[in-house]
Amino acid sequence: MSIARLRVDSINQVGDPSAQSSAEPLEFRNATKRYAGSPTPAVDGLSLEVPAGEICVLVGPSGCGKTTAMRMVNRMIDITEGDILLGGRSVKDRKPAELRRHIGYVIQQIGLFPHRTIADNVATVPKLLGWDRQRIAARVDELLELVGLDPHEMRGRYPSQLSGGQRQRVGVARALAVDPPVMLMDEPFGAIDPINRERLQNEFLRLQAELRKTIIFVTHDIDEAIKMGDRIAIMQEGGKLAQYAPPAELLMAPANDFVEDFVGADRALKRLALQRVRDIDLWSVATCRVGEPVAEVRKRLEEADLDIPLLVDEEQRPIGWLGKRALSGERVRDELRSRAEPVVELDDILRDALSDLLGRESMYGPVVDQFGRTVGVLSIQVISHAIGGASAAVPSAADRAP
């Protein structure tokens, strides 16, 4: 009976974002790290705020101080000047060991304890906090399931018996064990091959969509930063913050030459990967059915952004673009100039939609919703406007999870 209740308790801790312990905001306030004997600081007056539940990616070339900045949060490295506030409270006011037990920690090498079983590894922090055995066992199973591992199969194994991807998942489960409000992740997918890395990234974003932790994520890979980050802090040599902005803004308006260089010459294309068709303003289109009065269609055409009528079926599903002769009589005739290809879906990523258009050598294509009904038109012009456009709403990384 008590097991069942404890299990429900711990599920609430994880699943319900309104539960007492979910995420806390994090603020770097002029945080500086200077090493004795080094002329330049490792981290130089870093100031940035991470709202609760968002992923902040620290990215930059090696030696830019991104890992140092991350490690100051849980006091693995002590702050020389300035402060870091976790939920409004200075990390310096808390004992390092106690502080660290409430901050999830995932490193590139994962650092699973080879002499402990998977269950014992995941249970590391609960044991330090003195949870009772039943609660720990229930929590371990729950966490393993959460990261997509079979508890019955995995519990008793040792890390050496797992694949790289499985170990990485166990590392995440271990970091989540006591439902910490903040997680630190230092190149967590760095040691994973590209195919599995992509899968683990997507899995993690799905998990984050559910958990909504405040996360500091360190990487040297700008593409990973754009993919994972709600906000990206680009750091440059000397531990200086070059720019702190959401990915779209970073790609659209790099603050200086360093950032422009770092995000790469293809930053316009990278932006396309951030948005879905539903995120941008589509062209309106005049739809019509066979047998409709031509006068009505002409009126609709005047109001539409595109001057070519789109023939649809009874369900508003696109059939094809009408030629001039189709409107030459009283009623709309079935005279297509071309089939409606490609058909783009609202949930398509812009980059993929553009690729479809280019692949069909088409300047535009009808956009359909999840039921296949026409809702507008996507054109090369629309996309190019979206790339150059001012304030396209870009959803959070977790929401973008496929």
């Binding site: 660290r100 409430h102 920690y105 490193i107 080879p114 002499h115 922090v125 040792y158 018996q161």
Partner: protein, 239 residues
């Protein structure tokens, strides 16, 4: 030529007189039946030897292990401790027993003190190296999880260093069993004094020597079993 004849004559004599046990013994030869009849002579020395070895290794391991844990935390101690234990290790064992006699007197105390001293460098170095060889990532993860340095030491570093620590214990045990055979110089019993008592009698030397070897092998097996029991993850890795 005459030498060869002598050897043949002696060999012949041995064969001829084999039934006459007393003459084999009188010749200080290797006499199986004498050994069988006199096995009980070795029981007490054997257990004295076991006692000397086990007590010395236990005390020696405990001290060296504690010193190593201390030095692991206060790194500056590693140099002095290594130097001191190595220097003591180079003192010839005969000198060590004789040097200690005026201080600790004749008997087990002197023998045990000397044997403990010889275990120090072996165990100390293995423990220090074992702890140093624990991967930095794992130590970092332990710290990052919020372990205190004591928790990290006993929950992560020592368990992972066990194979090297126990390897040190095995060498220390074998060395101690061998050196304990010289403990008679300090006036104790053990198989060494049994050997020394009749050092020209082949049967005696062979039996006592064999028992020393067997004891060393047995202790080694005990430690190996302990290691197997304490490090299940290593078998999992091999599987």
């Amino acid at each position: 030529m005459s030498l060869l004849l002598t050897v043949i004559a002696q060999g012949g004599g041995f064969v001829r007189d084999r039934a006459g046990e007393s003459s084999c013994v009188a010749d200080d030869g290797f006499c199986p039946s004498w050994i069988v009849d006199n096995a009980d002579r070795y029981v007490t020395p054997f257990f004295e030897h076991v006692y000397l070895s086990v007590v010395s290794v236990t005390i020696g391991f405990t001290i060296a292990f504690a010193l190593a844990l201390l030095a692991h935390r206060r790194r500056w101690l590693i140099g002095p401790f290594t130097w001191l234990t190595s220097a003591l290790y180079t003192v010839p064992s005969i000198s060590m027993f004789l040097l200690l006699l005026p201080i600790t007197g004749r008997g087990n105390t002197t023998a045990i003190v000397a044997l403990v001293i010889y275990t120090q460098v072996i165990v100390f170095r293995n423990v220090i190296n074992g702890l140093a060889n624990v991967s930095a990532d794992i130590v970092d993860a332990a710290d990052g999880m919020g372990m205190t340095s004591t928790q990290r030491l006993f929950r992560v570093e020592v368990p992972l260093a066990l194979p090297e620590i126990l390897a040190g214990l095995r060498i220390a045990a074998a060395t101690t069993v061998g050196l304990a055979a010289l403990a008679f110089l300090a006036g104790t019993g053990g198989l060494g004094s049994q050997i020394a008592a009749q050092i020209t009698f082949k049967s005696n030397v062979v039996v006592a020597g064999l028992l020393v070897t067997l004891l060393a092998a047995a202790l080694d097996l005990v430690v190996l079993t302990i290691q197997r029991f304490l490090t299940p993850w290593r078998r999992a890795a091999a599987a």
